[in-house]
């Protein structure tokens, strides 16, 4: 976990340690409820969003933006157009709440397999690919600036 930004590592460890599937789902639903906190403001992007912001493979129509900060780090914003895309919202909130201010070198290396630590190994292939796609977009924004 040393390569993962500290705040993200803490969240992943906390959620991964919940062995009860239903309890874990409750935590993830509560996390998704905070989506407005990471939703892209109109000052950053307005609909219709450009396709290059769209997360590949995500069935919930997720989009990712990164805004450069004066200290050289990034602030991430998201949108999920499918109102039923709760998992995509939860993934976005986890990344949005933990990656602000993190070193770009670490953000570029956030492992996509944290999806399975957060959501469990039993999620469907398509769902897993979509959630990993959100992480890949975030990684790429950091890589572009390194």
């Amino acid at each position: 976990m040393s390569e993962i930004p500290a705040k993200l590592a803490e969240v992943v460890t906390d959620i991964e340690s919940i062995s009860d599937r239903f309890e874990r789902q409750e935590i993830l639903i509560e996390t998704a409820d905070r989506f407005d906190g990471v939703r892209v403001p109109e000052s950053v992007a307005a609909k219709p969003y450009p396709e290059e912001r769209r997360v590949p493979a995500c069935e919930s129509d997720a989009f990712v933006w990164a805004v450069d900060q004066p200290d050289g780090t990034l602030k991430f914003y998201f949108d999920v157009l499918n109102p039923q895309g709760l998992s995509a919202m939860a993934m976005s909130v986890i990344l949005g709440e933990t990656l602000d201010g993190a070193p770009l070198e670490q953000v570029a290396k956030v492992p996509t397999d944290i999806v399975f630590k957060l959501f469990g190994k039993e999620i469907s292939m398509g769902k897993g690919a979509g959630l990993m796609g959100i992480i890949s977009m975030v990684q790429n924004e950091a890589k572009k600036r390194l």
């Binding site: 239903f22 789902q25 409750e26 993830l28 639903i29 998704a32 590949p56 493979a57 069935e59 919930s60 109102p83 039923q84 895309g85 709760l86 998992s87 939860a90 996509t112 959501f119 469990g120 039993e122 999620i123 469907s124 292939m125 398509g126 769902k127 897993g128 690919a129 990993m132 796609g133 890949s136 790429n140």
Partner: protein, 288 residues
């Protein structure tokens, strides 16, 4: 304005129920409402009052082999959700009933024909402002005697698909055009979707599954509109021997449902091995 189900010209309109009908049967003991979703967080977040969840991964799949549950597992599932062979099971779910039709299809492998799909799925119910809650209901366990799973009529396996291709019979690839052409597997930074090769099974027509629904409310298109797509545009014969596939068989179960139940096609099978099997097989034909 979406036409009422009975006026859409389906061959078997009785396989669909409306949200109105469902709302009137929330407390009907002869009906069990079942939610089946792509997103595992949706049901626990809230659901139709009294609905139970059938989760594709946990409830319908064998935990070890890549296969569906067998007779004993199906009987245990039906017992747990309080269903008898006489119970009418009404499925609904997210993504235009994508996974609801998958669950419906698996139930048909065990002959539970008293099953329906709620037209428009979860999105339509929510949009109409109908009640939802977070209470996970418990129903008295039932004793359910299921027949052995019957794969031969509506399920296709890889060797059968290979013979089907060699015989030049029709297939429907219901994935996106980018998956069909194989372009997706070559996109940089794109998560790999479990296949070593991209493309499609030779001869397959590409009809993305969601073309069968009205995008504004998730209801199924009329029979005339569906015939225009599948019969006139793609030239599929309602009496033909047809195999549908996608990535793992979930989206193609939606198309299977449309062709079999709404248009009355007589011989449609779902190849659930789909591209995650075909795209990894050694020395099978692939078209790009």
């Amino acid at each position: 304005m979406t036409l009422p189900i009975a006026e859409r010209g389906y061959v078997h309109p009785g396989v669909l129920v409306s949200t109105d009908w469902t709302a009137e049967h929330l407390n009907d003991p002869s009906v069990r409402i079942v939610e089946s979703n792509e997103d595992p967080l949706l049901y626990p977040s809230r659901h139709i009052p009294g609905a139970v969840q059938v989760d594709w991964t946990h409830d319908l799949n064998d935990p070890v082999r890549r296969d569906y549950l067998k007779k004993a597992g199906f009987e245990a599932l039906m017992s747990r959700i309080g269903v008898t062979p006489e119970t009418m099971v009404v499925f609904y779910g997210d993504k235009n009933n994508w996974w609801a039709t998958y669950a419906y299809w698996v139930f048909q492998l065990f002959g539970h024909s008293n099953a329906k799909i709620m037209d428009g799925g979860r999105a339509k119910w929510e949009k109409e402002g109908r009640p939802m809650d977070r209470i996970v209901p418990e129903y008295p366990a039932t004793i359910y005697h299921a027949p052995d799973r019957d794969d031969h009529k509506i399920r296709a396996f890889r060797d059968q698909v290979l013979k089907h291709v060699e015989a030049g019979r029709p297939l429907v690839d219901v994935r996106s055009p980018a998956e069909y052409t194989g372009e997706k597997l070559h996109m940089p930074e794109y998560p790999q979707e479990g296949a070593l090769r991209g493309g499609h099974i030779p001869g397959a027509k590409n009809v993305p599954w969601a073309r069968a629904v009205n995008p504004e409310d998730g209801t199924f298109k009329t029979a005339e509109e569906l015939r225009q797509i599948y019969e006139h545009e793609q030239g599929l014969d309602p009496n033909g021997d047809i195999i549908a596939y996608c990535r793992i068989g979930e989206r193609s179960s939606h198309t299977w449902f449309v062709l079999t139940n709404l248009l009355g096609f007589s011989n449609v099978r779902n190849y659930d091995g789909s591209w995650t099997e075909w795209g990894n097989l050694v020395d099978v034909p692939i078209e790009k």
